[in-house]
């Protein structure tokens, strides 16, 4: 399938003017929501992440791309408190996050999804959604024993959950166990559940992987919708179609380092990016590694 078949005639309006000064890896942003300094993570002798400086722009959709093993998921884990870096500091919306546990990071509004989907299998789809809700005091042990203290809030949460489920076309499944959903539907559920928390920054790790192509378009619309609602989105994706279509800013990682960043169309032409992908896949066709995009130069060094 060619990329033009999938791309609508007029791609979404991009947010521009995000950076200050000349574009290069680690360039300063006008309004950064996440700032990373000297963050590194080693597994034995392997350096999974080694980021000198990186800023994620607020109110925009940023794509994090790079070949397999580049350290994207590890960087996600570090930013969200699911893993601890060996060195470095980072902040979210002005709060230093080093040493803050994952659940507190999430409470601050920085919410993530996982590359390997984590649907809560033996909870129903609706229960999965309700679990994302904030400020339900019935989740506190002593309150939970007195239903009249939390029933009203519960009805509110349910209404909100149903609205989101409708948006993600999962409303008919609300009483099914999450385990009965297809892989793609679970990805959607996980994303919808994350939205129940009213996040400020949504971090999606490969949201398109395994999602039925028929759903691709609506998923793109969802992500664009998040930006319209004022959220910041950071996503990891191998599907270049998605990256080109919705990302306002693209960050490229290779071997743990940020090797390039910039607006999508410019980054794709960057020789460092082509090198990064070809470096580990000399024999592969670039199109198959990166998705459905045809690059101007085909890696002739």
């Amino acid at each position: 399938m060619s990329s033009s078949a999938n791309t609508p005639a007029n791609p979404a309006a991009k947010t521009t003017g995000l950076h200050i000064g000349e574009i290069r890896p680690g360039v300063a942003k006008v309004d950064p929501i996440v700032t990373i300094d000297g963050v590194s993570r080693h597994f034995g002798g392997l350096t999974a992440v080694d980021v000198e400086h990186l800023e994620i722009p607020r109110g925009a959709i940023t794509a994090l791309i790079g070949p397999n093993g580049a350290g994207k998921t590890t960087l996600f884990n570090l930013l969200t408190g699911f893993d601890k870096p060996d060195t470095g500091t980072w902040s979210f919306a002005g709060h230093a996050l080093a040493g803050i546990p994952a659940f507190k990071v999430a409470q601050m509004g920085q919410v993530r999804t996982f590359q390997l989907t984590k649907a809560l299998s033996l909870l129903t789809v609706l229960e999965n959604m309700k679990l994302g809700a904030k400020d339900q005091r019935g989740e506190k042990l002593l309150y939970s024993l007195f239903p009249f203290l939390w029933k009203a809030k519960e009805a509110e949460i349910e209404a909100k959950a149903m609205e989101l489920l409708k948006r993600f076309k999962l409303d008919t499944k609300k009483d099914d166990f999450a385990a009965s959903l297809s892989g793609g539907q679970r990805k959607l559920l996980e994303m919808a559940r994350a939205l129940m928390t009213d996040p400020v920054l949504v971090m999606l790790d490969e949201p398109m992987a395994g999602v039925n192509p028929a759903l691709t378009q609506s998923l793109l619309e969802h992500v664009l919708g998040l930006k319209k609602e004022g959220m910041t989105v950071l996503f990891v994706e191998h599907d270049m179609h998605m990256v080109r279509h919705i990302a306002d800013w693209v960050i490229v990682m290779a071997e743990g380092k940020v090797v390039a960043e910039g607006p999508a169309d410019q980054v794709m032409k960057n020789p460092a990016v082509i090198d990064a992908y070809l470096g580990s896949h000399q024999d592969d066709d670039l199109g198959t590694i990166t998705g459905r995009i045809t690059l101007p130069k085909k890696g002739k060094k």
Partner: protein, 326 residues
Amino acid sequence: MDWSAIFSNTAQGLFSPATMAFALAALGLAMHFGFAGLLNFGIAGFMAIGAYGYAISILTFGFEWWQGILVSLVASVIFSLILGIPTLRLRGDYLAIVTIAAAEILRLLFLTNAFVDVTGSADGLSGYHNSFRAANPFPVGDYGFGPWTYNNNEMWVLVLGLLTLVICVSILLLLINSPWGRVIKGIREDEDAVRALGKNVFAYKMQALIIGGIFGSLGGIVYALPSSVNPGVYVTSLTFFVWTALLLGGAATIFGPVLGAVIFWVLQAFLSNVLPQLVSSGLLPFISSIQASTIRFILVGVGLMLLVIYRPQGILGDKKELTFVK
């Protein structure tokens, strides 16, 4: 074969302090394992804390019976904290190892001669009933009918045990059907996913461990109420018997553990009566009557294996859940 004795002994298993004690302990395990996914293989330790805490408070410190119960509950909370703080951050299997070891350590502490004045060592503890019986609202006399005939002291134990069980079942029903219960079940499925939604997973697991532990130690108290505290009871096989009751009824249910405990004790009573009689009437050749009474434990083991293989969700469990077990 004396069928009427067999029948009457079996019928007593239906409604006895031991049955209620098992039901309470199995309810605690349901909280731990069935709902929160915590692998506790030390439920015998929690029961021992209940029983010894109660008896020691009364015998050594001269407390009233209800103060003894409070001491036991506080002790079980402390035990949960000691177990949970180092292990709940680690993967689930660590809790299993730590709990089984901690329960053994406890048992050996109660058994050792070093504290014989307090724990009674191998003799255990008895004679702590005065305060409890003084509070008995039932006048002297016999109550009930047929095999279920009890004197006023037995009646007091049964009524209090039943009341405790009803309260614990109600609390568990409220907890599990609340948003708190939803978080707990979410943690059972995948704690990282729940963490990513901003819930303090460690605190929830600790709360679940404490609540289940309290149920377990209440079970230990009810077990000790009628007669004595015997260190030979709180062994690892007690843990496995309670697990059997839990899995029999259904781990992720609330009435399952109660039903499982009843079936377990009725079967125990039936087998321990019928097997020796089968031997003495020559229907079971090749074994002595002493061997016959231990066969029932072998049968329990075989039963547990068959159960886990053929009906892992238990009697009251939802078959649908199993279709999705990885």
